[in-house]
Point group: C2
Chain length 214, copies 2
DNA sequence: TAACTACATTTTGTCGACAATATGTGGCAC
DNA sequence: GTGCCACATATTGTCGACAAAATGTAGTTA
């Protein structure tokens, strides 16, 4: 079922996770020889991994000089959320017309399970749940480019910021209601509203984060 | 001034252009050995070039099997324009607040030169002019991710479709007015309107293309 | 001391060869 | 003739070595 995974794939994922989770610090230099010993692979696969990370904007590279992990800045996070607002808004719009009834039903069920968690008391709205919710809508857009840009690129960067600026599960209480309204709009096949609500939802997230940073 | 360019860079660009301009046909297989003789470089640099093309979604790759140029489909073009509408809409919004007065003045001047061309008679609104207009607004957003996604990714794909489906300079007559209104909104620093107008502008383009395809 | 030059060192870029995997071909059983 | 298995072939994946470029260092001069 799973397509074969090469050493370059595994190294790419391992290196990416080490960076995103902060085990390799932001702004630090990535030495090819050093990494090749660390991950026990040849420089060729390290180079391929670094190239892919560059495509994700997780590392920056200068010819004949080398690669560095990107530096995190408040401005960078804001730019990231501007892109999210744009792309995920469109994703919600498309999801409202392209998701099947079954997929929408599943989404509603997911939302219900989140409601039970929130209602249940101390268990707050987990980040994983939030991510899962957004994933389904993005997938529901059925737009290959949208899906790839968000999953392969933006989301890892967003997580990198979250982890390294120490902000887990933001805005846990109000987000549920926003999710509910988005699902309702999709259920009504109201593309316009779904986009608007999703954009607001992400805008609020951005504002909340900006507040925490200042 | 210019950063050094490696053989991999040059090969990447050459290969990309050969694909985008249709000299390598859509859907065809890319043999590493074959290309390495054709471009007179080692397989390593070919592999790097192919990897980058994969990141641009210009080629698709299966592990242990190889890479193919993506196949063009009407659906694919529509998806591309959906992403463009989303991203360039946001770019216009951001440009309305982030462009300097000087940059806006330059944009107006560019528009004026287009007007002179259009007015001049037989010389229709060139594709290059259109692209230049959009470039400036995207750059004006000052958002690194937005700029990179559009310039490094989407635009080459759009051009690939245009070239290979044989549609140069679409909607040459009406596009000028739309551009004018967008610039006016940016001049007024009306972010909301700038986004809306840009989205409409791209939506019309999409509709026009869909009409030509059917 | 500051700045410039020449050299040594380190790091990245490129190459050819080998290993691992997938594809194509022929033969065999039924 | 059809389906399946084994083998030959071709292609991709990985590796270590060499070439080219940038950085760091020492020495010299003003």
């Amino acid at each position: 079922m799973n397509q074969p995974i090469t050493a370059a794939d595994k190294t790419f994922i391992a290196l990416r996770d080490d960076i995103v989770e902060g085990r390799i610090e932001a702004g630090s230099k990535l030495s090819e020889t050093e990494l090749s010993t660390k991950y026990a692979v040849s420089r060729a696969v390290i180079r391929e991994a670094i190239n892919r990370l560059e495509s994700c904007h997780i590392v920056e590279r200068k010819a004949n000089v080398g690669a560095r992990v990107v530096a995190l800045s408040p401005q960078g996070l804001i730019e990231l959320y501007q892109v999210r607002e744009s792309l995920e808004g469109m994703a919600a719009r498309l999801a409202a017309t392209n998701m099947t009834d079954d997929e929408i039903a599943d989404l509603s069920a997911l939302l219900q399970s989140h409601f039970n968690e929130v209602k249940g008391g101390e268990s707050y709205y987990q980040e994983a749940g939030d991510v899962d919710f957004h994933y389904r809508i993005i997938l529901g857009s059925k737009n290959k480019h949208l899906i790839s840009m968000l999953f392969d690129g933006i989301y890892h960067l967003v997580r990198m910021y979250r982890v390294q600026l120490g902000m887990a599960g933001p805005r846990v209480t109000t987000a549920y209601d926003e999710h509910k309204h988005i699902v309702q709009a999709i259920l009504n096949r109201d593309a316009e509203l779904a986009e608007m609500l999703m954009r607001r939802h992400i805008l609020y997230s951005k504002n909340s984060i900006e507040r925490k940073l200042s």
